[in-house]
Structures are given as structure tokens and as C-alpha cells.
């Protein structure tokens, strides 16, 4: 009888050890797009601002790897990542924007206030492109290599510590 009384305690002990081990492991909980490693779906988007042309998925098939940045003028974290995008642009990275459910006037105001790192900005009024490439929110940033293949997805705003990592991903995509 008495050894059986210890059984619950020992089982719990085993669980606690396992849980403690798992907690100490680094963990990645972001929602990953299943599109990573695949080609961009075909799309064309009209321009979202008067200053920049719209976006066509074929544009990603020629030449250097690029960043595809999903954002919106109404999104607070997008303000937070604006200066990192500026920095990436200064490093010579081409950034293509897709503005989600936005108005041209709001886009203009945002770009005047927080800088305009984009070479092109497409207007995705129904989140069609956003959903098609497997993005679940704004902001999100994709690394697309020269052949239109998504090689990396960054969920959430780009913080200063992410900049070197994104540059590294771009370099890898360029090979």
C-alpha cells in the first residue's frame, strides 16, 4: 500500500522536472507562414500613395533580394519600426510596402511624419495579398529573394536588434 501512496508524488516530480526543462529551452511562438520557402502568389496592387508606384508580384523576380513590408498608417507598432526601416534603406536595402486597408491621405500623412523608406507601395484594401502570403497581422516583413521566393518572415515590428538579422537574411537570400 505505502509505495502506491508515493506514486502521485513521483509522477508529479517527473512532470515538474520535464516542465522545468522545457521552460529553460528557447522557444519561438510566432505564427509562421506556410508560404516561407515558396514562391510569391501572383498579385497586382494599385498605388497606395501619390508619390510611389503600386506593386506587382513580378517585380520580385528580377535581380536583388528585397524586403516586403506589410504595414498600415493606423498601426502603432508600424510607427515604432519606421526608424529601423529607414536604417535598412540606408544600408541599401530595397523595401516594398503593402498598405493594408488604408487611405491615400493617411498614407501620405504617415510617410511625411515618419519617413518614407519604400520604393513602391501597393494598396491592399481587402487584405487579399496579406492573407495570400500568410501574414496574420501588421506589421510583418518578408525577405524575398531575386526569384520571387519568400525566404524569411519576420512577425511584428522590427526593433533595432532585428536589423543585423534581417541584413543577414537578405545576404543569404542573395546567394
Amino acid at each position: 500500500m505505502s509505495w502506491r501512496l508515493w506514486l502521485p508524488f513521483l509522477l508529479f516530480f517527473g512532470f515538474a522536472g520535464l516542465a522545468a526543462y522545457q521552460l529553460s529551452q528557447p522557444k519561438d511562438d510566432t505564427v509562421k507562414s506556410t508560404m516561407v520557402g515558396k514562391e510569391l502568389p501572383y498579385f497586382t496592387l494599385p498605388p497606395a500613395s501619390l508619390e510611389r508606384p503600386g506593386v506587382d508580384s513580378r517585380y520580385f523576380y528580377e535581380g536583388e533580394p528585397k524586403l516586403l513590408n506589410i504595414w498600415a498608417s493606423w498601426c502603432l507598432p508600424c510607427i515604432a519600426e519606421a526608424s529601423q526601416l529607414e536604417q535598412l534603406k540606408e544600408e541599401g536595402v530595397e523595401i516594398v510596402g503593402v498598405a493594408i486597408r488604408d487611405e491615400p491621405t493617411d498614407v501620405m500623412r504617415f510617410l511625411t511624419e515618419h519617413g518614407n523608406p519604400y520604393s513602391r507601395i501597393g494598396r491592399d484594401d481587402l487584405s487579399e495579398v496579406q492573407l495570400a502570403i500568410g501574414s496574420s497581422g501588421v506589421p510583418e516583413t518578408f525577405v524575398i529573394d531575386g526569384k520571387g521566393v519568400i525566404t524569411y518572415q519576420h512577425v511584428g515590428d522590427i526593433r533595432p536588434e532585428h536589423v543585423p538579422m534581417l541584413l543577414e537574411e537578405l545576404r543569404k537570400a542573395g546567394r
Binding site: C75, L131, G137
Partner: protein, 650 residues
């Protein structure tokens, strides 16, 4: 200032929890009355009041959207309707922990205030244990999750509340579940108290039973609300997804159900002592384990929230302290507690033991399935365990349990013979068999739904059998409770099984004016229109739906977009008829201008939730019955003492 009052009240409450622990412990040492021991009860009552004050202050800062409080700025928004501002107070990690400790302290205050049946020593031990458990949560709140933290600069606007949570069903789902979880902490403290003083008696079980019943009713309601919310808000077609977070709530319910029945045996027949204590520890352990799984992020779930490994470590520490400690105490002490009265296999106790074993087995199945990915991940293998495991393996234990549930209430306590109830047994078996044959002939369906339907019908009839030959007015309320709850299980089972057996799905791409059909329904997409709400915009599909030759009805499922924080949700529309629900969801548009419309026809699906409500109602009736008989008992014993005193004085 309001936030500071809340914080101060919380610190004071924590100090009182220390007093409660020390006072209770001193009272136990040597058995001599300690002056501090007299303080345990008032300390528990005052602690409850202070925490309630603290929680009220949190509600206040959320109600006025005080954006200088970090928690408000992170989780609320001035544009939200008031009810969702308030529910925002507990729709996050810090607030929900404060709610947790509030419920716990109020429960402690209530035991200290009204419980008079327990021996004083067990009472002191129970309150000390309750103080000890609460203390851990205070430490958690005050040291690492302060809900009243101020921002250095007030925010200009809040970041909002997860739009999925902006739903009336979900505003009340967490507090309901919490009252259930935390109510089990009382059972836990009782069990620990009894282990310390080694006094496991029927009186102890009777004192514990209303708490288990109350917690169990709230758990049941919380599960029903959560299941319905997941069904209509998340657009999940099914009733149970076997997601770790859902399982985290199911496991305490299973344990509490087993505890409820075994405490009943202990209260009426003085048997199953050790087992009841064990379940008391396990039930609350499952609540805490659930909290740990949901918040630590060790398991990946679709709706885990407030995930943070650091908090996970803190909760794991609390788990080790309380659950590990209680199980250690159990291992050391339980040998000294005798098993209690004997009984034969063919008896009410025998049936309840089988029920307990089966419930525990189902609990083990769910626990194993939930934790299995954790185990394999340690070896770097990622797996997810889903319905293909849970449904059949759970069913292996569920169906025998249902069979015992059907006949158990017909048996007498202690010793009975199967022969005495042979007529009833034959009736139930015949119904079961007829059901299986009928549904097998009626249509092709999988084994589990088929068995489910047959068992549901047999159980529904069987659960009414204890009323046979009795004068209905004389049947005790608690017995009505049992009958209602068992009937509820049958109703719920019927809903689940018919959902599995008869559901029809149709995914159609319609242009405006296009038509489709699902089951007996004809559906036409009239138009797609934009709609604007207070903090969202949406595309609504205007659909005309018609059941057979009935009148056409217009419905408008939406695909909603919130902007703070940005998120897309689907607002499905349900058309409920007596025999089922039509479920319509609006999808996106395809490139050729057609719109995706997803439709289900789910016959009798609503019975799942009506059954759940019946189960909870059964719990309420049982609780009312117990409280009434307790009060009567108390009144009579007081009268007897008065009479005796009168006689002695005369």
C-alpha cells in the same frame, strides 16, 4: 490614487494571509490555544474584504480608462463599450491573477465566516493551508505581475483588447471558470487540513461537499459558455477541439466530478476516505496545472494567452510548493488513514467506485494526451495529439462509465443484488440494443456517433428510473439534482453524437445572386455590403436562407476588421430551429468577383449546450438540497440543546 489604494489593499491582504498561516500553524502546535489562533478567522474575513476592494479598484481604473496605469494602456481603449472595458480588467494575465486571488480570498472569508461543522483543529489547519496557497499568488502579483503599475508617462490611447474577447460570452466565461478553479482550492485546503490532523470523517466530507458542488457548477457553466463561444466566435465546427487550453479546463472538471461522487460516498457511508483526499488534492492540482500550461508557453496552443516563460517559472514554483507539498504530505500521512466502511461490489458505493475509476482514467487519458507533446519535445520531436487519439481512447472509458451511470443510482447502499433491479437492467439494455440497431439501419455512420446516440437514449430513460414508484413530492431536492444532471449528460451526449453523425457542410463560391444548398436549406447570396462599427469595419454578406418550404429569412454574416489592435474576425450567423442550427460564415472574395460562403447544417447541435445547462442546474439543485438539509439539521440540533437546557434548568 485609485490604483494606489488597490495596491495598498493587496499588500495588506498579503500580510493578513501571513497572519492566517502563522495563527493556524500555532493553533495546531501542541494543541494549546494560542492567542494568535483566535485571529485566524477574522484575518481570513478581513483578507477577503481587502482583496475585493483591490479588485474593485482595478475595475474602476478600467471603467474610467485611466491610461496612466500600464495594464489599462496595454489592454483597453477609450472607444470600447463599457462592458468590454470592465471585462478588459480580467482579460489579461495580471488582472486574471488578481481575479483568481480575489475569488480565493472571498472563499476563505466565507469558510471562516460560516463553517461550523469541522473540528476546530481541522478548521485551523484548513485556514492555514488556504492562507499559504493565497500567499503564493500574492507574491506572484506583488513581485512580478503588479496590475496597478503606473506608466512614467500616461499613454495617449490604449492598445485595445483582443477583439476576439470583445464578446459578451467571453466577458463572463473566464470569471465563471475562475470561480470554479478557485473553489477547488477550498477542497484542496480541506484535504490538506484533514491530512494534517488525520481527521477524515463523514462530517468533514459534508463540510467539503457544498464547496465542491459550487465549484463544479461554475466549472460546468464556464465550460459550456467557453464551448459555445468557441463554436460561434472562432467558427470551430465542433464542440471539442482537444486544444491544450481547453483540456486545461476539462481536467479539473473531470477531477471535480469524481471528487463530488466520492465525497458523497464518504459523507453518506464513511467509505473511500483516502481516495476522497487524493481527489481533493488532484482537483485543485489540475486547476493550477491548467494555469501553468496556459501561461507558460510550454505547450503551443491556438489560444494560449499571456505567454511568458518567466511567469511560467513562477507558477511552476508555486506548483512544486503546493502540489508537490500536498502529494508529499499525502504519501507520508495517507497510510495512517483507514479505508473506512466495507461494501460489496453490487452496491451504490460499488457503482460510484467504478464511476470514479473511469473518470480518473479519462482524466489520465486527457492529461497524457495534453502533456505528451511536452515529453516528445524534450527529445526534439514535435507532435500534436488530436481527436484521433482523444476520441477513441476516451470512449473506451466513457461508454462503460455511462453504462454504470445508468444503473448505479438504482442500487442500494452497501449491499444489493442485481436480481432486485433486473427489470430496470433489462429495460436499459433493450433500449441500448434497439438504439444501436435502429441507428445502424437508419444510415451509415461511424461507430462512436452511433454508440453515442444509442447510449444517450438509454441513459435519458435510465436517469428517470430512480423516480419510479416514488411520490414525486417526497423525492429530496438533492436527488432531483442528480437526476437532472444525469439527464443533462444524456442530452449533451445526444447533441455531440448527432453533430458527429448528421452534420453537413457546404463551401460555395457565390457571385451576388448565386444560390446553393446545405441539408434541407436553400441559400442565396443577395449582396455583399460594407458595415462600420464603433471600433471595426466589416464586409457583410446578405444571405436569404430557407428551410424546406418555410419562410425565407435574411441573415448577414460578417468578416470584421478591428484596428486596435489590428485583427480580423468572422462574425458567423446561426439560425436556430428546434431540430438544429444553420451556421453561416462569410469568407473572402476570389479574384473572379465571387465570394466564399461556408455553411453547415448541424442537426440537434444545440442539445450540447442545453445538456450542459441541465448538468449545471442539477448541481444547483443538489447544492440547494444539501444546504437546506444542513440548515434543517442545524435548527433541529439547536432545538434539542435548548430543550435539554430547559429540562436541566427546570
Amino acid at each position: 490614487m485609485i490604483a494606489e489604494i488597490g495596491l495598498a489593499a493587496l499588500w495588506l491582504a498579503a500580510a493578513l494571509a501571513v497572519l492566517q498561516l502563522v495563527g493556524g500553524a500555532l493553533a495546531l502546535r501542541g494543541g494549546t490555544e494560542s492567542e494568535l489562533a483566535a485571529l485566524t478567522r477574522p484575518a481570513a474575513v478581513l483578507q477577503g474584504g481587502l482583496v475585493a476592494l483591490s479588485f474593485a479598484m482595478l475595475l474602476w481604473v478600467f471603467a474610467i480608462t485611466d491610461l496612466s496605469v500600464k495594464l489599462v494602456a496595454m489592454n483597453s481603449h477609450s472607444a470600447k463599450p463599457l462592458i468590454f472595458k470592465l471585462s478588459g480588467a480580467w482579460g489579461n494575465h495580471e488582472g486574471s491573477m488578481l481575479l483568481w486571488v480575489t475569488v480565493m480570498a472571498l472563499a476563505g472569508a466565507l469558510i471562516a465566516g460560516i463553517e461550523r461543522r469541522l473540528p476546530e483543529r481541522t478548521m485551523q489547519a484548513t485556514l492555514a493551508a488556504q492562507g499559504f496557497v493565497a500567499l503564493g499568488f500574492y507574491a506572484f502579483l506583488l513581485l512580478s505581475s503588479n496590475p496597478f503599475e503606473r506608466l512614467p508617462q500616461p499613454a495617449a490611447e490604449g492598445l485595445g483588447l483582443n477583439p476576439l474577447l470583445q464578446d459578451i460570452g467571453l466577458a463572463f466565461h473566464p470569471p465563471t471558470l475562475y470561480i470554479g478553479y478557485v473553489g477547488l482550492s477550498v477542497a484542496f485546503s480541506f484535504a490538506v487540513g484533514a491530512l494534517i490532523t488525520r481527521e477524515v470523517t463523514p462530517a468533514f466530507a459534508r463540510a467539503m461537499r457544498p464547496w465542491i458542488l459550487g465549484a463544479w457548477v461554475f466549472l460546468t457553466l464556464g465550460l459550456v459558455a467557453g464551448s459555445y463561444w468557441a463554436y460561434y466566435e472562432l467558427g470551430w465546427g465542433g464542440y471539442w477541439f482537444w486544444d491544450p487550453v481547453e483540456n486545461a479546463a476539462l481536467m479539473p472538471w473531470l477531477a471535480a466530478t469524481a471528487l463530488l461522487h466520492s465525497a458523497g460516498v464518504l459523507a453518506s457511508r464513511d467509505a473511500l476516505r483516502v481516495w476522497t483526499i487524493m481527489l481533493g488534492v488532484v482537483a485543485f492540482s489540475m486547476s493550477m496545472l491548467g494555469t501553468f500550461l496556459v501561461r507558460s508557453g510550454v505547450l503551443t496552443s491556438v489560444h494560449a494567452f499571456a505567454v511568458d516563460p518567466e511567469r511560467g517559472s513562477f507558477i511552476l514554483l508555486l506548483l512544486a510548493l503546493y502540489i508537490g507539498g500536498a502529494l508529499l504530505l499525502f504519501a507520508l500521512r495517507a497510510g495512517a488513514i483507514s479505508e473506512g466502511e466495507r461494501f460489496s461490489v453490487a452496491s451504490r458505493e460499488g457503482a460510484l467506485v467504478v464511476n470514479n475509476v473511469m473518470l480518473s482514467a479519462i482524466l489520465a487519458v486527457v492529461l497524457l494526451g495534453t502533456l505528451y507533446p511536452l515529453l516528445t519535445e524534450a527529445f526534439d520531436v514535435r507532435v500534436s495529439v488530436g481527436p484521433p487519439y482523444f476520441n477513441p481512447v476516451g470512449a473506451i472509458f466513457a461508454f462503460p462509465m455511462l453504462a454504470v451511470m445508468a444503473v448505479g443510482p438504482l442500487l442500494r447502499w452497501r449491499r444489493d443484488s442485481w436480481g432486485r433491479i433486473s427489470k430496470e437492467l433489462a429495460l436499459v439494455a433493450a433500449l441500448l440494443l434497439a438504439g444501436i440497431v435502429l441507428f445502424a439501419v437508419l444510415g451509415e455512420m461511424a461507430l462512436l456517433p452511433l454508440l453515442g446516440l444509442a447510449f444517450a437514449i438509454a441513459l435519458a430513460v435510465a436517469s428517470l428510473l430512480p423516480l419510479k414508484g416514488r411520490r414525486l413530492k417526497r423525492v429530496p431536492i438533492a436527488t432531483w439534482g442528480m437526476i437532472t444532471a444525469h439527464l443533462g449528460i444524456a442530452v449533451m451526449l445526444f447533441g455531440m453524437a448527432s453533430e458527429g453523425a448528421f452534420s453537413q457542410e457546404r463551401l460555395a463560391a457565390l457571385e451576388e445572386g448565386g444560390t446553393t444548398s446545405v441539408g434541407p436549406w436553400a441559400v442565396r447570396l443577395e449582396a455583399v455590403e460594407p458595415v462600420a462599427g464603433p471600433n471595426w469595419t466589416a464586409l457583410a454578406g446578405r444571405l436569404t436562407v430557407r428551410h424546406r418550404d418555410g419562410e425565407p429569412q435574411t441573415i448577414a454574416p460578417q468578416s470584421r476588421n478591428f484596428w486596435a489592435p489590428p485583427q480580423q474576425t468572422t462574425e458567423s450567423v446561426l439560425v436556430t430551429r428546434w431540430n438544429g442550427q444553420l451556421y453561416a460564415v462569410m469568407g473572402g472574395s476570389s479574384t473572379d468577383g465571387r465570394w466564399q460562403v461556408r455553411l453547415w447544417w448541424k442537426p440537434f447541435v444545440t442539445l450540447i449546450w442545453y445538456g450542459g445547462l441541465l448538468i449545471a442546474l442539477g448541481g444547483v439543485l443538489a447544492l440547494v438540497g444539501r444546504i437546506r438539509s444542513d440548515l434543517k439539521h442545524r435548527y433541529i440540533s439547536r432545538r434539542i440543546t435548548e430543550r435539554r437546557e430547559e429540562r436541566e434548568n427546570a
